[in-house]
């Protein structure tokens, strides 16, 4: 605006009008105008305008302000009235109110439960004060062009990071793996999981000390216990200064007790911490690996310096291992060291070819998405029911307007009603959440507590209430308050097309979401069942695994076997270096005659005793099993089918290869091929694997016992416990059923399956509540039409068709939209699994049929009821 107008500034006038009392307005505006004219003539236009603004601003004084600025409580009476009317409406339309509150509170409860779950997931590991700066040291290994990502590290890497890359780190801590060990003395022992770590570990993990000194691990004969470990060992006594033994061997003195690390931490199972030096100086092979860069058997944690990011540090420490291994002769791996940030441990721990590909974070997105969708569903219900109801209220709106209600008041009225409903629903949902929280915890496999002291919780709750009431109340509020008085009173607003389309659109959205959720649930369930029915390759029934936690167990196979077999407790017994459900070792350096020199095979290895095969019941596919009688079998191996393919052997049996084993090159002969046994993830391909016979029993760490199936398993376990406890009285007998362990591999997926099933069910329920309300409204609207049709001879069937067909159409449309969406997401999800189903097409059909049936039942209830009404009754009024 270049040309300044000759009149006082409009905006200033508007401002004045906004805040000034009405009765003052005329005088003030007049005075200001007159003064403006005066100034304009005496000085200049711009000065007059400036002065006008100045005067208006200076006019902002309490005496001149409108009532609402001074006394906001004057509106209280009106607000009271809004609530009164709101409550009356709730009471009058009991069915609608119940439908509305029911739907919304179920929706809110789902959102709250999901919110709790998300909170738990996203704050995982926050227990550790430095969680932003902590990391696990890991490595990517490039082998034959493929990058694999592994946690195990060589011993000297800790020293290297401290000495060469020390500028980047606050602390670097070497650690053993967290495993079960026996703690105690000659009389009493308890089995606790813990690790040997360097002395800065407790500080780094910010453990909360109950008693003693957190820095005590500098002394080699010390140990720190968690509170519950101390409790288990000493009860109420003061444990500090007491001496115990680790694994009946190493004497240590308890120097500190720390608070149990909660389940929401990755260090939850750290029930004791013993000094790393103790581990090193007492374990021969560990001592020997001090300077070995090619033996990755340890793990390390690090805290980076303030002001550095993980990425920056990663950039620098990448060559920490390869700088040494590159000098090794015949070393083919390319090693890259990197940090896996603690904040990512729980949710992002999958790598594919060296690239972070997520992990449990996808479930966070999935359930977060479902939560939002369920909330949307519930809001849609609310909107639908309110707009439908609103058409009954047009006369009320007309009369209110005629007697002087302004639009703002009407909007306030409707928003208050929506707020009222949402608040009631919120209370109901809170009660629901408290009611189902324990069950939800079981379902999700976690312990949930409502973090009442968390201000964020209340802030979010408030936000959800306000947002939901706005979201759900805005449309009816604006739509209804916009009626023209005359039309509203005349009743000519009946069939507003826009609202009809909106309602239909909303129903479609609801059913798209519900149908997609149903299809997803079926797919998840199928995938789980498919993998569960995958042949394990062995027989896990009645098979228990006992770890040789104590040296007292070692070398006692003969004794145990005679004892247990004579008492007919077991059928057979074997030993293995890895438990049946994991693989502990992978080695490289296999050489054989026809091998391509550029091929550097690495295969999983498992040392077993001769009875292994018969105990677990593997299937020898070609060749023969190990034999106890043949002495030559000590250099014989059995390989799995995957290894045959991997090695590219046409006639595997009789093939020989060499391998560096225990300080020498040895030649092994393949004597048999077994069918693939699933040792790791049932969703992945089985890795190539070699079974060695360990006649010297140096590698064997687990007993496998095949219990006598004729004996009740509890009885068998009790007898076995006795035998083992005779062997080592102070070692608690700990065993695991192999098939239980195997079932645990499905836990995550089973959980997701169950949860998505529950949510899909609730989504459908909410949608149906809405549909039910809509159908009953429609039927009510058309009472007269139905009456007339009946008088003219329409049958009940025709009327039913008439009233139901619209909904059926909507559902069909929803299904058509839901299928591609569901297809996309299921495809995406299944891509995570190597061993997976094809998309189950029948699930689409099932979902469609299901949705149709549910809709028909819901709608028919209303339409049949309407069709059965006696026309005399429906036509009598007016």
């Amino acid at each position: 605006m270049n040309q300044q107008s000759n009149i006082p500034p409009k905006l200033a006038q508007r401002l004045l009008q906004w805040f000034l009392k009405d009765e003052l307005l005329e005088e003030v505006l007049g005075d200001l105008d007159e003064k403006f004219d005066l100034e304009k003539e005496t000085y200049s236009l711009s000065k007059a305008r400036r002065n006008y603004w100045y005067q208006v601003i200076k006019y902002i004084r309490p005496f001149a302000m409108r009532g609402s600025f001074n006394h906001p409580l004057k509106n209280l009476i009106m607000i009271k009235n809004y609530f009164k009317i709101g409550f009356r409406r709730l009471k009058r339309n009991k069915v609608y109110s119940a439908l509305n509150i029911g739907g919304l509170s179920v929706g809110l409860a789902v959102v709250m439960l999901i919110g709790l779950w998300l909170f738990h997931e996203l704050t995982f590991d926050d227990y550790h004060a430095n969680h932003d700066k902590l990391a696990r040291v890991m490595q990517h290994k490039t082998r034959d062009g493929i990058k694999i990502t592994r946690r195990p590290l060589p011993f000297p890497v800790g020293r290297e990071l401290r000495e060469v890359y020390g500028d980047n780190f606050e602390t670097v801590v070497m650690s053993s793996w967290t495993w079960g060990h026996v703690l105690g003395d000659e009389d009493k022992g308890v089995l606790k999981t813990g690790a040997f770590m360097e002395s800065e570990a407790p500080q780094m993990l910010s453990l909360r000390m109950v008693a003693g000194d957190m820095n005590a691990l500098t002394q080699q004969n010390s140990i720190l216990l968690s509170r519950s470990s101390a409790q288990a060992l000493f009860g109420g006594e003061d444990p500090i200064g007491k001496s115990i033994k680790i694994d009946n061997d190493w004497n240590v003195v308890i120097k500190g007790v720390y608070e149990d690390i909660p389940t929401s931490s990755s260090f939850n199972s750290l029930e004791f911490i013993a000094p790393w030096d103790l581990y090193v100086s007492n374990t021969e092979w560990v001592k020997a690996s001090r300077n070995e860069w090619d033996n990755s058997s340890f793990t390390a944690f690090a805290q980076i310096k303030e002001g550095l990011t993980m990425e920056e540090v990663n950039e620098r420490i990448r060559p920490a291992i390869s700088a040494h291994t590159d000098q090794y002769e015949g070393w083919s791996d390319k090693n890259e060291v990197f940090l896996h940030a603690m904040n990512d441990w729980h949710l992002r721990n999958n790598w594919e070819n060296g690239v972070q590909t997520g992990g449990a974070i996808q479930y966070v997105w999935l359930f977060g998405g479902i939560g939002v969708f369920v909330l949307i569903l519930a809001c849609i219900n609310f909107m639908n029911l309110s707009t439908a109801q609103s058409l009954k209220r047009f006369r009320e709106v007309g009369i209110r307007k005629a007697i002087g209600s302004v639009r703002k008041q009407l909007i306030n009225q409707f928003l208050t009603e929506s707020f009222l409903l949402v608040c009631l629903s919120f209370l109901v949902s809170l009660a629901l959440v408290l009611l189902v929280l324990p069950q939800f915890g079981v379902l999700a496999g976690k312990q949930f507590e409502i973090p009442y002291q968390e201000p964020l919780l209340w802030l979010i709750s408030l936000a959800v209430i306000v947002l939901t009431s706005l979201l759900a109340g805005l449309y009816p509020a604006f739509y209804l308050s916009g009626f023209q008085v005359v039309k509203a009173l005349k009743g000519s607003i009946f069939h507003s097309n826009s609202s009809k389309y909106l309602r239909r659109g909303l129903v479609v959205v609801q059913f798209v979401i519900s149908v997609a959720l149903i299809i997803g649930t079926i797919a998840v369930r199928d995938q789980i069942q498919f993998t569960q029915s995958r042949p394990m390759g062995y027989n896990g029934d009645n098979l228990i695994s006992v770890s040789m936690v104590s040296d007292d167990y070692r070398g006692k196979k003969e004794y145990l076997e005679t004892q247990l077999k004579d008492a007919r407790i077991i059928e057979s017994m074997a030993m293995t270096s890895s438990p049946m459900t994991t693989l502990n070792s992978t080695v490289g350096g296999f050489e054989w005659e026809s091998k391509d020199p550029n091929f550097h095979p690495h295969m999983a290895t498992n040392w077993v005793s001769a009875e292994f095969g018969s105990t677990v019941g593997w299937n020898i596919f070609e060749g023969r099993d190990f034999s106890k009688e043949l002495v030559t079998d000590s250099s014989s191996v059995v390989i799995n089918q995957a290894a045959v393919t991997y090695m590219g052997l046409e006639h595997p049996v009789g093939q020989e290869f060499t391998l560096w084993v225990r300080n020498s090159y040895r030649t092994f002969k393949i004597i048999g091929v077994t069918r693939n046994i699933i040792r790791e993830s049932p969703y992945s391909q089985v890795r190539p694997m070699v079974y060695f016979l360990d006649t010297e029993e140096t590698e064997l760490e687990y007993y496998l016992l095949k219990l006598n199936p004729e004996l009740p398993s509890q009885e068998a376990i009790a007898s076995t416990t006795q035998v083992f406890e005779q062997l080592a009285p102070n070692v608690p007998f700990d065993y695991q059923f192999v098939d239980d362990r195997y079932a645990q591999k499905f836990e995550a997926e089973v959980k997701v399956g169950k949860l998505s099933g529950v949510f899909a069910g609730l989504a459908i329920m909410i949608s149906c509540l809405g549909l039910f309300g809509l159908a009953s409204y429609m039927a009510e609207q058309r009472t007269k039409e139905i009456g007339i049709r009946k008088v003219l001879g329409a049958s009940i069937l025709t009327l039913w068709k008439l009233l139901s067909s619209e909904f059926i159409l909507l559902i069909v449309l929803s299904c058509a939209l839901a299928i591609p969406i569901a297809y996309y997401f299921i495809n995406d999800w299944l891509a995570n699994y190597e061993y997976r189903i094809d998309i189950p097409w029948y699930s689409f059909l099932l979902a469609i049929v299901g949705a149709l049936v549910i809709t028909l039942i819901t709608v028919s209830f209303q339409s049949v009821k309407a069709a059965l009404v006696n026309p005399v009754k429906s036509l009598r009024s007016e």
């Binding site: 005088e27 007049g30 005075d31 004219d37 005066l38 200076k58």
Partner: protein, 108 residues
């Protein structure tokens, strides 16, 4: 009933303006006599307080073009207001008379 300093000035201005006392003229005369330029807001605030205390009464005047067709609001001293001015004045004079060297001139 108290009379503030600025209120007293405004009251004096209204009295001296006679029949022509409304917002703009009061403001102008105050500016002329005191050399200070009060804001319209401050002036009105004082005027409403005076009206509330019943020192002045108001009447509506005719609309003029320079006010954008808005009516003037004329202010006039009430008897009570006049009495108040009188009292204040007498109080001052009683002090002033006793101050040596202070000359009290009055126009006749």
């Amino acid at each position: 009933m108290k009379l503030g300093g600025f209120e007293e000035l405004v009251l004096l201005a209204i009295g001296s303006l006679g029949d022509d006392a409304y917002g703009v003229t009061i403001k102008e005369i105050l500016k002329e006599k005191t050399g200070k330029n009060p804001s319209v807001g401050a002036l009105h605030s004082a005027l409403y307080r005076l009206e509330e205390k019943e020192f002045v009464k108001t009447r509506e005047g005719g609309a003029t073009a320079e006010r954008g067709g808005r009516r003037k609001k004329y202010y006039q001293l009430t008897a009570y207001g006049l009495k108040m001015l009188q009292e204040t004045n007498e109080l001052r004079m009683s002090f002033a008379q006793n101050i040596p060297g202070l000359s009290i001139k009055t126009q006749e």
